[in-house]
């Protein structure tokens, strides 16, 4: 056996003796606090779903304050200093590649004047009453936590200074914290943080007025360029701890055969052959929650084995008879026709209406129209969902790659009928998340299997087939756009009709219209200066679990709108860049709520208006960097797209080269991003680089289809994603400079939506062929 004790690595992430420790030496402190501070209410069950469960008479809160359990900034929660000076900083958000375990500690360490070499990172378990909101999605972690984490670090710094001043009996203003020690400026006396830690910890957290934040010119880590990653060394040497890596003494391994059709149920199963597999321990049925199943498991047949392979092999030998139910007729080809017919008919929910669009279209000198289609996508994070659970003395402890440990905690407690303080959810690293892992179904499954096994530790693994068949899929969408032009080619009318199954369908029976938090993703807040604008949302029914996938509805909305604007320019022989900037109109601030976006990403419309000038500037910057207008060879083209999402402004230019067989190569993508000030510019770049690749997968190769209610793609040979050979040879990210008094924008998601339209605009420029459905695949085949 491996000499390294399996839990040793986990404790690298989770501080020894904390509630997250696997050593069972738990103080239970945080759970007592949890009980005192946050009795469970119905509201908690709707964590992360904007606009649900908020009483109408409550004053509206925005940003991080508006999230369930809000923000925290006390160093007593997030910072501890050992006598040897080692500073431990708790990260309350989940790491899934965005670099949050580096960037949040950087913020705290900077204001604390800590030496980064003497900082360690501790992962918080799910406990929002203590740590504030932990739901790591919506491109919100740095955006919401920058200010409170600055205050946290600065408060700790002041407490250390107060402790030193008291020790030396000198005025507070004569001491200063600098690089892990406090200096008495007149005498040059110094005390290290370790020597001051105990006295500082006994002090009250100073009132905000007594805490002066650094002037940004004094930042030593925030905004500085480096490639340092908290978990980089562990990743490069294979010593990380992901959800699938948990190992406990006496642990069993499980996989589940789930109903292949939404709402399907188990009729009968025969486990005779499965039980003959060496190492298979038990096979049993798990009851699911019927639709709308929210984040709860959908049931199935569980196979438990002594290793993962025994469970997988046993499952393959099960004979199962499913009752497929009402969604067995779901067929992607027929459903596409249904959606496309729906968007060709005037009507549906009126999302936005300015002027008289239908009259303006009827009177237009020229009318242009186009239809666009975007299929379902799967998240397909490289680590499939995985969780390990055990139940000891009626308390369930879980280790999981979850984006939302509190949401997982609450669902486990509900399904297992346990008191809140009897459930602990520890957060491992996530091998990708992209929104999938904020759903707790796999975590609850692990807990249910452990319960069935008498509380024995069980690791539940999802195979790739499970992941693709039972995702919370990106929705499927048909869109119809019309533009009316006057005699001078000016756009006078804009009609945008979209039909797409809503995410609300996992929470409520058969909703058919998009929610504000979906309309607000690149549809209703369309910022172009057009006098007549009408946006309509015809009905659509969900026949699969629909969920948030990185950038969510922005993907299809930006694809359609940004392709269509290029089409309008092209139809008039105008330069796309110039036309796009003209269509934006004059620099101005738009209150999103005045143009039918009541949601505004949960942010204050005063603090976060749509700034048209910032959108214009990213377009100008990216086209300049990409040398827009340069002469291109045969089969080569540049394509542009710009989009505002997650309160960040992005524009991209894709360079494409199409060969005579219709195969494409992407030599270069330029992206300009204005996300306000940055904490970790290298991770902003890496997020945008990754967004380019994910956007390309959607644009070029990825698609999930259903036949007889079942997903047709089993693994990566059918659900294709971009690999090295199709990856852009070069991605250049241009971060717009920004002062630190500008509110932060999101970073993880806003890079995705521009990629598909920019690529299709490039292909149109290169070949004259307009691609209006994703993915591209062989659509160029015979056209070149």
């Amino acid at each position: 056996m491996n000499a390294r004790h399996p839990m040793q690595a986990l404790s690298d992430y989770i501080s020894a003796g904390s509630p997250a420790s696997a050593s069972n030496k738990r103080s239970g402190t945080s759970r007592r606090r949890f009980l005192q501070a946050a009795p469970l209410t119905g509201l908690v069950l709707y964590v992360g779903i904007p606009g649900i469960g908020v009483a109408a008479d409550e004053p509206k809160k925005y940003g991080g304050e508006g999230m369930p359990q809000g923000l925290r900034d006390s160093p007593k929660i997030f910072v501890s200093i050992a006598p040897d000076g080692m500073v431990s900083i708790v990260v309350n958000r989940s790491e899934m590649g965005q670099g949050v375990r580096t960037s949040i500690p950087k913020i705290v360490a900077d204001e604390l004047e800590a030496d980064w070499k003497r900082v360690r990172v501790v992962q918080a378990p799910g406990d929002e009453a203590r740590y504030g909101n932990q739901d790591t999605d919506g491109s919100r972690s740095t955006r919401h936590w920058f200010d409170p984490m600055r205050r946290c670090g600065a408060s700790a710094r002041v407490m250390l200074e107060q402790a030193a001043a008291a020790r030396w009996k000198v005025p507070l203003d004569s001491v200063q914290a600098r690089n892990h020690e406090v200096v008495h400026t007149p005498s040059g006396r110094k005390l290290g943080y370790g020597a001051l830690a105990l006295a500082a910890a006994k002090l009250e957290v100073p009132v905000p007025a007594a805490v002066k934040l650094k002037d940004p010119s004094q930042f030593r880590y925030i905004g500085k360029v480096d490639t340092f990653l908290t978990d980089g060394q562990a990743i490069a040497t294979g010593k990380t701890w992901f959800g699938i890596d948990t190992r406990l003494p006496g642990m069993l391994y499980a996989v589940i055969a789930r109903p292949p059709v939404l709402g399907g149920k188990l009729k009968t199963f025969d486990a005779t052959e499965a039980l003959k597999v060496p190492g298979v321990v038990k096979v049993f049925a798990m009851e699911g929650t019927p639709p709308p199943s929210e984040f709860q498991p959908i049931g199935g047949v569980v196979v438990v084995g002594k290793d993962t392979w025994a469970a997988i092999k046993g499952r393959s030998l099960l004979k199962i008879d499913w009752d497929d139910g009402a969604h067995a007729s779901y067929n992607s080809i027929a459903f596409r026709s249904e959606l496309e017919a729906a968007v060709l008919k005037p009507g549906g929910k009126e999302v936005r209406n300015e002027g008289d669009t239908y009259a303006a279209l009827a009177n237009a000198a020229k009318k242009i129209e186009a239809n666009y289609y975007v299929p379902h996508f799967a998240h397909a994070s490289m680590e499939c969902p995985a969780a390990t659970a055990r139940i000891v003395n009626g308390a369930c402890e879980i280790w999981a790659c979850t984006q939302s440990p509190q949401a997982a905690h609450d669902r486990v407690a509900k399904r297992l009928d346990l008191a809140a303080d009897k459930v602990t959810v520890n957060v491992t690293l996530l091998g990708g998340g992209f929104g999938r892992k904020s759903k707790a179904d796999f975590v609850v499954e692990a807990a249910l299997v452990s319960k069935e096994m008498g509380g024995q530790p069980v690791k539940l693994t999802w195979t790739r087939e499970d992941d693709l068949h039972h995702d919370y899929f990106h929705t499927v969408c048909a869109q119809h756009l019309e533009a009316g032009l006057d005699a001078n080619g000016k756009v006078t009318a804009w009609l945008h009709r979209t039909a797409e199954p809503t995410i609300l369908s996992i929470f409520a029976p058969d909703p058919k219209a998009l929610a504000p938090f979906e309309l607000g993703l690149g549809l209703s807040g369309m910022p172009y200066a057009i006098p007549n604008i009408r946006i309509e949302n015809p009905e659509a029914t969900a026949h699969a679990r629909i969920g948030w996938l990185r950038s969510v509805n922005n993907i299809q909305h930006a694809f359609a709108a940004q392709s269509f604007i290029a089409e309008i320019a092209q139809a008039q022989g105008k330069d796309h860049r110039d036309f796009l900037i003209e269509l934006l109109g004059p620099d101005r601030l738009i209150d999103p709520t005045k143009i039918s976006d009541s949601w505004n990403h949960g942010e204050s419309p005063e603090r976060y208006p749509i700034n048209v000038g910032r959108l214009r500037k990213v377009i100008e910057r990216v086209t300049q960097e990409a040398q827009w207008g340069r002469k291109m060879g045969t089969g080569q083209g540049l394509g542009l797209a710009a989009h505002y999402s997650f309160v960040t402004y992005v524009a991209a230019v894709v360079e494409v080269s199409v060969d005579p067989k219709g195969d494409i190569v992407i030599p270069r993508i330029d992206v300009a991003v204005d996300c306000g000030p940055t904490v970790n510019p290298d991770r902003v770049r890496s997020q945008i680089e990754g967004a380019c690749v994910m956007g390309l997968s959607q644009a070029v190769v990825s698609e999930i289809t259903f036949k007889n209610g079942r997903v047709e793609q089993d693994n990566f040979h059918q659900f294709e994603v971009v690999r090295m050979n199709l990856a852009p040879r070069k991605i250049v990210v241009h971060i717009m400079p920004s002062a630190y008094d500008v509110p932060l924008g999101g970073v993880g998601e806003p890079g995705v939506p521009v990629v598909a339209p920019a690529l299709m605009n490039a292909i149109a420029a290169a070949t004259g062929k307009r691609i209006r459905q994703l993915p591209l695949r062989a659509q160029l085949g015979s056209a070149i």
Binding site: M1, G238, M382
Partner: protein
């Protein structure tokens, strides 16, 4: 009982012969650095070296690995190329979530061991079996060139 030599150390395991090396390493030997991504040799997350050659451990039965030298991500740093790749990975800041990076590093190391100065086409050929959903490909390419002493410019 089957004897495996993993990272230079002899290890005895008891598992059926058809058990993929991936699960033997992860569940029996306790080396979880080698990752499961697809189970069909489609994604490369499970790449290890068998007698110095990269193989997908999810499609390598225990019987095929018995008695052979196996190198995993936990041991590859002991080789010159493996160490150079790991150093380059951190210098260039390749990893995002990090999950696929064990396999990427194993494939990149095998490439450089066989071909110390790979061209872009060589890199495409050797690395296209490894999927990264975070999309770190451009940095992987840069890091391979850096490890090969070919500069950091892409």
């Amino acid at each position: 009982m089957t004897t495996l030599t993993v990272n230079g150390k002899a290890t005895n395991v008891t598992a059926p012969d058809d058990t993929p090396l991936l699960w033997v390493l992860r569940d029996h030997v306790g080396l979880t650095g080698t990752k499961f991504g697809c189970g069909m040799a489609l994604c490369g997350a499970c790449t290890v070296h068998l007698e110095g050659s990269p193989v997908r451990s999810c499609q390598t039965p225990l019987s095929a690995a018995a008695g052979k030298k196996i190198t995993t991500i936990e041991g590859v740093g002991a080789t010159q190329a493996g160490k150079a790749v790991q150093v380059a990975w951190l210098k260039i800041g390749v990893p995002q979530c990090g999950y696929c990076q064990s396999g990427q590093i194993m494939s990149a190391t095998a490439l450089l061991q066989a071909n110390p100065k790979p061209s872009d086409a060589d890199i495409d050929q050797a690395m296209s079996g490894n999927i990264c959903r975070c999309g770190t490909y451009t940095r992987i390419r840069t890091a391979i060139k850096s490890a090969a002493g070919m500069g950091d410019a892409s």
